[in-house]
């Protein structure tokens, strides 16, 4: 999957699940703030990424994923393995 295709797909599923406009999702934006995630809905984001891309984010890895760019890179790296 091309990186831009991946980005578009990530943005689309996140926007739909967390009910924000795709335009609100920018690479440098903070994920939690943009999607209004608390500790519970963060679990739903992890589950959504896992079920959509078959990429599991461990709890210990979450702290390194702050922005959407971090998330795209994380998923792309795992998918290329």
């Amino acid at each position: 999957m091309e990186k831009q295709e991946l980005i578009d797909q990530v943005n689309e599923v996140l926007a739909e699940e967390f009910e924000v406009e795709v335009s609100e999702i920018t690479p440098d934006a903070n994920i939690k703030e943009t999607l209004q995630l608390d500790s519970l809905s963060l679990v739903d984001m992890v589950a959504l990424i896992e079920s959509t891309f078959s990429v599991k984010i461990q709890n210990s890895e979450l702290s390194s994923i702050q922005t959407f760019a971090n998330l795209y890179d994380f998923i792309a790296a795992r998918m290329s393995k």
Binding site: Q36, D38, L40, V43, D44, E50
Partner: protein, 406 residues
């Protein structure tokens, strides 16, 4: 001076309507909310009959992070409670500044449990169940959600007492107010309507098999009844201490005069006569009323052979040959189970306020015991100022309420 408990708001979401006005009209016209559900037949149900109601779409009303914790029955309860609070003249500011309680009847949240277990079995990864599952799966899902959504600050508890849950919730709430522990409580009952929630109930052949004639299937007290039809939704009443209600200029709709209860201490599914009789008697004693004070009885009668027979006997034990109109609104709604005790208070209130008693739908021929009661099979115009409402449940739990018009 004894504290009095009054009803100052009502809200309902049922197969008879999504507002009080719609429900009143359905009660008046004798509309049935029962349909045949082909999905249940495909699932192997013995009886595919059910009450029909749509799940409320709360997108745009509540945020995603509020909705994700709500099981089906919570959505019904939210809509009913919003209507009740509005009718009681209560806004969010009031709720956040006062210790308003919450006691709601609910005794299952099967759909959420089944879906999360299916995910765990298939994916073998609990994260994929999602964050809402735990909060949707618990019996107290309605009270935990409503407590947070409306920011309630008083007692917060679910009452699980099978098909008497909603009635006990109102009764227990009335005691807390009477004893001075609360001034106002949001009470009610909720019932999920999805197939998973009642498949096991169908499995014990408790449901009517009159699938070729759905609107005739639920026929409480009728000689030819052959089982109940499951229903659901939610009903909310705001109960409040009388002086408190007067002081804030609330609409005072009725007074909860008595709450009676008992346990049969007998069979798990078959009701007896002695237990319900004691519940009725206790309620009259608590209300300091005699049988001649009661203008209408809303029976529990679910359209099962033994249940209706034994309730008819219990009513006759207490009321004897004094003929009070007795109907079961379950002829129209099916059995609303955990919700029934609350919804039937509202159905009775709507009839009391509008001077009619709706037909005990499908009561065409009495049997030996129902013949001893006055059960109108057609709607009657009747003014009454006090009604008694019965609710009985599995395990032999019984609850009776008496409400007076105001």
């Amino acid at each position: 001076m004894e504290r009095r408990v009054v009803i100052t708001g009502m809200g309902i979401y049922s197969c008879l309507g999504k507002t009080l006005d719609e429900v009143r009209e359905s009660l008046y016209t004798g509309k049935s909310g029962i349909v045949f559900d082909p999905v249940r037949k495909e699932m192997g149900f013995r009886s595919a009959l059910t009450a029909k109601l749509d799940e409320p779409n709360l997108k745009g009303v509540l945020s995603r992070n509020q909705r994700v914790y709500m099981a089906e029955e919570c959505k019904y309860a939210y809509v009913a409670t919003k209507e009740a609070l509005d009718n009681a003249g209560l806004d969010q500011d009031y709720l956040e500044k006062n210790a308003v309680g919450l006691l709601y009847g609910n005794d299952s949240s099967a759909d959420a449990v089944v879906k999360s277990v299916d995910t765990m079995r298939e994916k073998k990864d609990t994260t994929l169940v999602g964050s809402g599952a735990i909060f949707q799966s618990m019996n107290s899902t309605v009270t935990m959600n409503l407590g947070c959504l409306f920011k309630l600050r008083g007692i917060n508890m679910t009452v699980s007492a099978a098909c008497a849950s909603g009635s006990h919730a109102i009764g227990l709430g009335s005691l807390l107010i009477k004893w001075g522990l609360q001034d106002m409580i949001v009470c009610g009952g909720a019932q999920e309507v999805n197939p998973f929630s009642i498949g096991s109930f169908d499995g014990i052949s408790a449901f009517s098999s009159r699938e070729n004639d759905p609107t005739k299937a639920s026929r409480p007290f009728d000689r030819d009844r052959d089982g109940l039809v499951p229903g659901g939704g939610a009903a909310t009443v705001i109960i409040e201490e009388y002086e408190h209600a007067v002081k804030r200029g609330a609409p005072i709709l009725g007074e909860i005069m008595g709450y009676g209860f008992s346990s049969n201490g007998d069979h798990i599914s078959s009701p007896n006569v002695a237990g319900p009789t004691r519940s009725l008697q206790m309620c009259l004693e608590q209300a300091k009323m005699g049988i001649k004070d009661i203008g209408y009885i809303n029976a529990h009668a679910t359209s099962t052979h033994v249940g209706d027979t034994n309730e008819a006997k219990a009513i006759y034990n207490v009321f004897g040959d004094h003929k009070v109109p007795v109907t079961s609104t379950k002829g129209q709604t099916g059995h609303e189970m955990w919700m029934a005790g609350a919804s039937e208070v509202i159905y009775s209130m709507l009839m009391m306020k509008n001077d009619f008693i709706g037909a005990s739908l499908n009561f065409e021929n009495p049997d030996e015991d129902s013949a001893k009661l006055y059960i109108p099979g057609e709607r009657i115009q009747a003014h009454f100022d006090t009604f008694l409402s019965n609710s009985f449940g599995f395990g032999g739990t019984n609850s009776t309420l008496i409400v007076k018009n105001m």
